[in-house]
Symmetry: C2
Subunit: 341 residues, 2 copies
C-alpha cells in the first residue's frame, strides 16, 4: 500500500497523539501528510528516528490522500472536510462539527462498526464521538449488549487535555506557580485548574442547566446505540489530571444479573481491561491508563441502594472507569475508524 494518510491539526494535542500511534505502528513517514496552520508550517516533528515536516493546510493538501483524520477545531472541519472528500479522501472527524448530523455515522469501532457503510466507492465522512462518550460506552456497552442498560448516572473526572495542549501547559504552569507561592494565571479555563476541580468549562444551557459536555454524553449515546430509550444523568467535572478521564457510573439494567455475569461481560472484550483488586485496594486510575489504548474498569459492585434479590441477582451496578482521553478518547478511536475504511 502506498496510500497517504493526512493528519489535520498535527501540532495539537490529539494530532500529536495520532502521529505517536502511527509511529508505534511503524507506519512509514513518507505516507503521512501532517497538516497545520500557516503558523506551524515548516516546523518538524520527530518520527520513527527521522522527521516529518508540518505542511500548511490548504485546499490543495488532500491530493492522493486516502484517509484524512481531522484533529482540529469544528471550524476547520466544516471548512476542509468537504474539500478533502471532494479530493477523494475519507474523513474521520474528531471535532463536534458533524457528530449530530443524521447523515454522518458516529462510531466507536468496538460498539457500532456496522454504522460505517460498506462497499461504497465514494469518500465517507465518519465522526469520532466525544471522549467522555467513548470512554463510558467502552465500559457499559458489553453490559448493554447482554443485559440492556436502561439508565446511567455518570459523574466525570475529566483531564484538562480535552481542552488541548494549551490546557495541559496551563495545568503545569499553574501548579508550578502555586507551589512557588506566585500568582496563578488562568487563560484557557476561567477557573484555576491546578489543585482544584470545577464544573466542565463548556457552555451551560440557561434553561436546562446542562452543559454542552453533558448534552453530548446523552445525545451521542442515543445516536451510537441507535435508540433514545436509555436515560442518562450526567455531571461533567474537570480535575487536575493531564490526559486521562475517569467516570463514576451507576447503572440500572433491564435484566437482573449476578456479579459473575457482570464480570464475564468484560472478559475478552477488546479494548477493555479490568483492574478490580478489593483486598489490595488497586483500581483503575487515570495515571495507570495514560498513554495506553485500553479503557480500564474497576470497582465493579452491586449498588448498595438496591442490593441483590433472593436469587443473588441485581439490576443495579456501579463501575469506576478510566481511559486516556487523547488515545481511545480521540486519536486511537479515529485511527481505528480509519482502519475500517
Amino acid at each position: 500500500m502506498s496510500e497517504l494518510i493526512a493528519i489535520v491539526g498535527a501540532t495539537g494535542a490529539v494530532g500529536r497523539e495520532a502521529l505517536s500511534i502511527l509511529e508505534q505502528r511503524k507506519f512509514p513517514a513518507h505516507r503521512i501528510v501532517a497538516l497545520a496552520s500557516a503558523r506551524s508550517a515548516g516546523s518538524r516533528v520527530s518520527y520513527n528516528g527521522g522527521e516529518i515536516t508540518i505542511q500548511e493546510l490548504t485546499a490543495a493538501s488532500f491530493a492522493g490522500v486516502k484517509v484524512s483524520i481531522f484533529c482540529a477545531t469544528s471550524g476547520i472541519s466544516k471548512q476542509f472536510a468537504p474539500i478533502a472528500m471532494k479530493a477523494g479522501s475519507h474523513v474521520v472527524d474528531n471535532s463536534s462539527a458533524f457528530r449530530m448530523d443524521p447523515a454522518v455515522p458516529l462510531v466507536v469501532p468496538e460498539v457500532n462498526p456496522e454504522a460505517i457503510p460498506r462497499g461504497t466507492s465514494t469518500p465517507l465522512l465518519i465522526a469520532n464521538p466525544n471522549c467522555s462518550t467513548i470512554i463510558m460506552l467502552m465500559a457499559i456497552h458489553p453490559l448493554h449488549k447482554r443485559f440492556g442498560v436502561e439508565h446511567a448516572t455518570v459523574s466525570t473526572y475529566q483531564a484538562v487535555s480535552g481542552a488541548g495542549a494549551a490546557a495541559m501547559d496551563e495545568l503545569r504552569e499553574q501548579a508550578a506557580a502555586s507551589l512557588a507561592g506566585a500568582p496563578v494565571i488562568a487563560k484557557v479555563f476561567d477557573e484555576q485548574c491546578a489543585f482544584n476541580v470545577f464544573s466542565h468549562n463548556s457552555a451551560v444551557d440557561v434553561e436546562t442547566g446542562l452543559n454542552v459536555e453533558e448534552t453530548k454524553l446523552i445525545k451521542e449515546t442515543h445516536k451510537i446505540w441507535n435508540s433514545d430509550k436509555v436515560t442518562i444523568t450526567p455531571t461533567c467535572i474537570r480535575v487536575p489530571v493531564y490526559r486521562a478521564h475517569s467516570e463514576s457510573i451507576a447503572l440500572r439494567l433491564a435484566t437482573a444479573v449476578t456479579e459473575q455475569q457482570v464480570r464475564e461481560a468484560f472478559v475478552n472484550q477488546p479494548g477493555v481491561r479490568v483492574l478490580d483488586d478489593r483486598a489490595g485496594n488497586k483500581f483503575p486510575t487515570p495515571l495507570k491508563t495514560a498513554g495506553g489504548d485500553d479503557v480500564w474498569v474497576g470497582r465493579i459492585r452491586v449498588d448498595p441502594a438496591a442490593g441483590f434479590d433472593a436469587s443473588g441477582r441485581s439490576r443495579h451496578w456501579c463501575l469506576w472507569v478510566c481511559g486516556d482521553q487523547l488515545r481511545k478518547g480521540a486519536a486511537q478511536n479515529a485511527i481505528q475508524i480509519a482502519d475500517l475504511l
Copy 2:
C-alpha cells in the same frame, strides 16, 4: 466565662484548624489547652498575636476543662475520651471511634441539634460525623426536611486533607517532583495523588466492594436522619485538591417539586451558600470554598433522565456541592457542637 477548652491533637490538620477558628472568634488564649503527643509537647503555635504552648496529652490534662475537642486518631479518642469525661469535660470527637455507638449522638448542628441531650449535668460525648457525610447533609437536608429524600447517588471528589497534614505535604511534594521530572514518592497514599485521581484509600470490603468511606456515608446518614429509609449509592474518590471536598449528587425526592421550590429550600439556610450562575459558568469549586465555613451548592438542575412532569414538577434533581473538609467537614462542625454544649 473562664472555662477551659481542650484541643486534643492540636498539631494535626484538624486541630490546627480548630485553633484557627477559635482565633477568628477571639477566644482568649489562656482558656485553651492545646494537647498533642510528647513529641510535639513544648512547641509553640502563634495565636492572636501571641503564642500557645503545646502540652503533652496525659490523663491529667483535663482538669478544669469544660469541653474537649478530639482531633486525633480513633485510638487516642478511645483511650482519652473516657478520661476527659471522668474529669468533668464534655467531649466532641472528630474520629470515627464512637460515631456508630448507639449511645453516642452523631450531630450536624444545622441538621439534628435535637440529638444532643439537654439539661443533664453529666459530661456528654458527642461524635462529629465524617466530612463527606457532613458536606452532603448540609446540602440535601434542606430538601429532605421539605420534600423527603428517598435516594441519593453521590460521587465524591475528596481533598487529600482528609488523610491529614502529611497528605497535604505529600500532594505538594509529589506535584513538585512531577514538575521537575523527578521520581514521585508515595508514602501516605498507595497511589500517586498529584495529577491523578483514585478510589478512596480506605479499606474495601471484599464482599460488598464498598470502601469504609462509602459505608460511613450510608450509615452515618441513617443515624443522623434517624431513619434507614433513604438509600444511597456512594462512590468515594480522592482528587489532588488540598482541603475542600466536592460532591456530585443526584436525588430522588418523595414529592415532585418545581425548580423554584428547590431553590427556595436553600434560601436563608444557615451554613449554606448558593452559587449557580449558568450564563457565567460560575459554580462552587473547592478553592472558592477553602478556608470558609459554608457549604456551597450549585448546578441545581432537574435530572434530564426524568425531566419535569406536565405541571413543571420533578422528583429528580442534581446538585454540585463543595465544602471545606477541615472547616465545616471537621473543626467548624465540632466547635459548633461545643457551642451547643
